[in-house]
């Protein structure tokens, strides 16, 4: 039996649950449209995903206003509702509309480049920023801890040998780039982070060091400057990033005083500059609007409106720039926030932590429209009431992996850890997988997926060598070997018959070298 067939038979069939009834208009060309090949990318590996994190929990009901349910909305939020006549209606049906500060995104919607997915969430939502953020980034269940990120697992699937043998001729660029000082859980692979962080590609200092205080005029400052200088020179990807950045002399004008715009401007530049990086991540904070999210005298303005305006202007400038640079065919973006906010507003003209919320997917190859019903709730809501979710956020990820980043649907489970529906969000074109066999393969197993036994083959450079099996939480199940070896290639048998079905990792540690192999256990 072939690996793919085997896997397909062993996993539950995907649910096909479009859930589109009551939604708004759709663009004519869907994911399965015969016209899709018109959007064939120019090369097989050039699709890029840009993830925009809105930190703090964006108020979904004041971002996409439920016009269809407007009087109940006003009742629930008497002190912060956006007046109906200011809402930017989506489509002719006008069942929902955008906050007036989102005029740029409204324009993208009218041009068919914005998809609004209503009420995205997950079962048993968590209301802690930290935990909810980890759930969104790891794509775990609400009650499950997963120690890697969904995009990190995707990159580990595409580039299983990373970082051994990278960069190389077939992948000389970072696999993922996060703008900012930290690399988030989203980009964490099973053992190592698959991403790198940069702040400003023109400044080598900030390639590695997001935080950089000026060096004092002392001997200590002299040594600090020396080490920073070497650090810039030796940053593995410094040259390719600098080259990419300097290859783009001109971009459209981005709004100023807008940190999201600053970040997206860098992303556009690196994409146009030729990096083959697949995933970019940026973030923009301040959405934790417990109080004073609107001006009491004009509820269409205020803190939240200002935040939305920056998001809208940044994304619009980015989209215009991608078009100007001629790379808009290649890029799809999505926003996410760890949760929406409570239906009922509080007395301090703010909103507390909530649950499901709308999410935006944008780009030239996005299927424009609205997916899902307009959120509905009764005329009197309780202070603790939350919106139920219509779409699991992991369906968005699975869709983008499958239809945009070209992951074979039969391999989605090892990244998403279970099966999720795909939605008509993007025009996939004819997807081709990336070349994923570069780098130095040090550990593998066969068969994979496996039911009972699988044979692990590993290569050691000699000296102390460890092979251990871990689960997705990072827990070590067993050390298969832990001793000195002469350099060479060896095999070990792993009996996993009693383990629950799921994803496991075989980790090789050979002094300073490590590599992780993803193994799928099936019933």
């Amino acid at each position: 039996m072939k690996r793919r067939d085997f896997l397909e038979k062993s996993l539950p069939a995907g649910l096909l649950l479009p859930g589109l009834v009551g939604g708004l208009s759709f663009k004519a060309i869907g994911a399965e449209s015969p016209l899709s090949p018109l959007f064939l990318p120019t090369t097989e590996t050039d699709h890029v995903l840009v993830i925009i994190q809105l930190n703090g929990g964006n108020d979904g009901l004041n971002t996409v206003i439920p016009l269809q349910n407007f009087s109940n909305y006003v009742n629930a939020r008497p002190n912060i509702y956006v007046p109906e006549n200011k809402v930017l209606k989506l489509g002719t049906a006008g069942k929902a509309g955008l906050h007036p500060a989102l005029s740029g995104l409204h324009r993208l919607y009218n041009e068919g480049m914005l998809q609004v997915v209503q009420s995205v969430g997950y079962p048993t939502p968590n209301f802690s920023h930290f935990r909810a953020t980890d759930i969104w980034m790891s794509a775990s269940e609400s009650n499950q801890v997963v120690n890697s990120g969904w995009a990190g697992r995707y990159l580990n699937y595409e580039y299983p040998n990373f970082p051994n043998g990278y960069p190389n001729t077939s992948m000389r660029d970072p696999l993922a780039i996060q703008i900012g000082s930290t690399t988030s859980l989203t980009l964490q692979g099973p053992a190592v982070s698959m991403g790198m962080s940069i702040s400003n590609p023109n400044s080598f200092y900030n390639l590695v060091n997001g935080v950089q205080d000026p060096a004092p005029a002392t001997p200590a400052g002299k040594e600090l400057t020396y080490i920073r200088t070497v650090s810039q020179q030796t940053q593995q990807y410094a040259t390719v990033i600098k080259d990419a950045a300097t290859a783009v002399p001109q971009q459209v004008t981005y709004p100023t005083g807008n940190s999201l715009a600053d970040q997206l401007k860098i992303v556009a530049r690196l994409i146009k500059g030729g990096l083959r990086t697949r995933v970019y991540m940026v973030n923009f904070g301040g959405f934790d609007t417990h109080a004073a999210q609107v001006n009491a005298t004009d509820t269409a303005t205020g803190t939240h409106a200002n935040l939305l305006q920056r998001v809208s202007e940044a994304i619009t400038a980015f989209q215009d720039d991608l078009k100007f640079l001629g790379v808009d065919e290649r890029v799809v973006g999505m926003t996410f926030s760890e949760f929406g906010r409570r239906i009922k507003s509080n007395a301090s003209t703010g909103t507390d932590h909530g649950a499901a919320a709308p999410l935006f997917v944008f780009g030239k190859n996005v299927t424009g429209g609205v997916t899902g019903d307009t959120p509905s709730f009764g005329p009197s809501v309780n202070v603790n009431d939350n919106l139920p979710f219509q779409y699991d956020f992991r369906s968005i990820y699975a869709t983008l992996l499958n239809n945009w980043l070209c992951v074979d649907s039969r391999d989605l489970n090892q990244i998403m850890l279970k099966n999720f529906q795909t939605l008509p969000l993007v025009n996939a074109g004819a997807c081709k997988k990336a070349v994923n066999l570069s780098g130095e393969n040090l550990i593998s197993n066969y068969p994979n997926p496996f039911q009972g036994n699988t044979v692990i083959t590993f290569k050691t450079n000699g000296g102390h060598t460890l092979v251990q099996i871990m689960d997705t939480t990072g827990r070590v199940l067993v050390n298969l070997t832990d001793r000195e070896y002469p350099a060479g290639t060896y095999t070990l048998n792993f009996s996993g018959g009693t383990l629950p079905a799921g994803v496991y990792y075989a980790r090789l540690q050979n002094l300073s070298v490590q590599q992780v192999r993803t193994m799928v256990k099936v019933k």
Binding site: D134, T183, Q233, G286
Partner: protein
Amino acid sequence: MDRRAFFQQSVPALSPQTMATPSSGLTAFAGPLTDTELYHLLDRCFFGVSRADLAHFKGKTLSAVVSELLNPVAPLPSPPVKEYTPAATTANPDTNIALGSTWVNDNNTDGTVNSLRRASFKKWWMGVLVNQDRSLREKMTLFWHNHFATETTDIGNAQYVYKHHNLLRTRALGNFKSLVKDITLDPAMLVYLNGQLNTSTAPDENYGRELQELFCCGKGPGSQYTEADVKAAARVLTGWRNNATTNSSYFTVSRHDTGNKTFSAFYNNTVITGRNTANGGEQEIDDLLNMIFATNEVALYLCRRLYTWFVYYDIDAQVETNVIQPLAQIFRSNNYNIQPVLQALLSSQHFFDSLSRGCLIKSPIDLVVGLCRECQVVFQPASDYITNYGFYNYLVNWASSMQQNLGDPPDVSGWKAYYQAPQFYQIWINSDTLPKRNQFTDTLVVNGYTFNGKKIQVDGVALVQALPTPRDPNLLLTDLINSLFRFDLTPASKAQLKRDFLLSGQSQDYYWTEAWDLFVSTPSNTANTTLVRNRIRDLIKYLMNLAEYQLA
């Protein structure tokens, strides 16, 4: 552009005032001894400073602290044990030594056994460093190893290696002149610099040269010994050999040059009378050392070496006048006892001058051992020496790959970082070693190292838990930075670190406080515990990747 050209282009020009050295001298430092001063002092005297070290010295006066540093009370470490098993093919395996017993008193000339023992010695030494006492003993032992540099692979005999090393440690804070004499007659040194081959008929100048050039006089402007002095010293040193049974050296008159030896004007034209008696060899060495130590140069040279080891490498005219010369005077007037010199230096205004702080680039040993000690990485109980030696071996290998191979400096000059102008310490940091340093800290913070089913890893949460107020993200960050860096960061940088790592992009501090409190009250809440652990882990990893972490 080649690497050099690129490098030269990108190093920012330093204005003259950035090169300024401290103008202060040896006057006793009278300022308050806050945590900042204590960290500075202890970081230079230890391999990394743990919170427990800081707590131990906190509240004491500077003179009490320095006195404690200069007077070790901890017993000397017990010698290395057999943790290896010679292969079946070994000609003469040391099966008479049980696993876990020391091999240092067992004579064995088998090449394979000695190779295993030298490796055992290195692992053991790393263990001693990781478990160092609260005195200057270990830092000075490594200082002397760098000063009287020898290579274990050249010495070969592991018992000689250990004996030599034990000499350095037991005399680390003693008298320099008597140490030079013992080093001169040390079996390992007699092998390493060919003293055992130095005979009247075939003189070998190797030790006679290095005794002056590297060990006593140096190559400073005042050091005026001549090639004839090298030859004359070599003649004084003829006739010594090693006894591999007693592990000691002995003198043979028949191999000794019994003629008179005449030295240059630098040594006041001293004539050392040739002897032909059984103790004549030692008497001539005493004469030789009395002559050498009568010059001004020995004290100046040693004080420059100590200054480079403990303070900084830039010794300009101001430092020479204000620090080196008075320090050398103290050295001479105290008959070459080391303690008064270190006492004066480590208590001085100059040492605590703001310009003297944070400018020492950590050696690989400083980095590797320092991380383990600062983060209080937990090793196995002493009874599990097999596992611990495996961990120590891992650390030895890392330091070696960063260009500091414990027990095997590149040559008799020691590590270049302590003598090669103009780069000095900067030699430790290059395009190969800096990524390795980052890889090392990343590995110990994120994955740890597993050996024999056990693991060493930085427990970030335990580290943070030991801080006074970890529930306050601002204080947590300030205290953590103060314990890892000799630099403070600007409020803007701290705010960014707090937001990015501890608050996950949120702006309210109480989100961290809530998560931390929940972790403390309910550690069984796996989801919350994991997120607290991961945020601390990523913060520590990030801080250790900043250039600031490479400086002490």
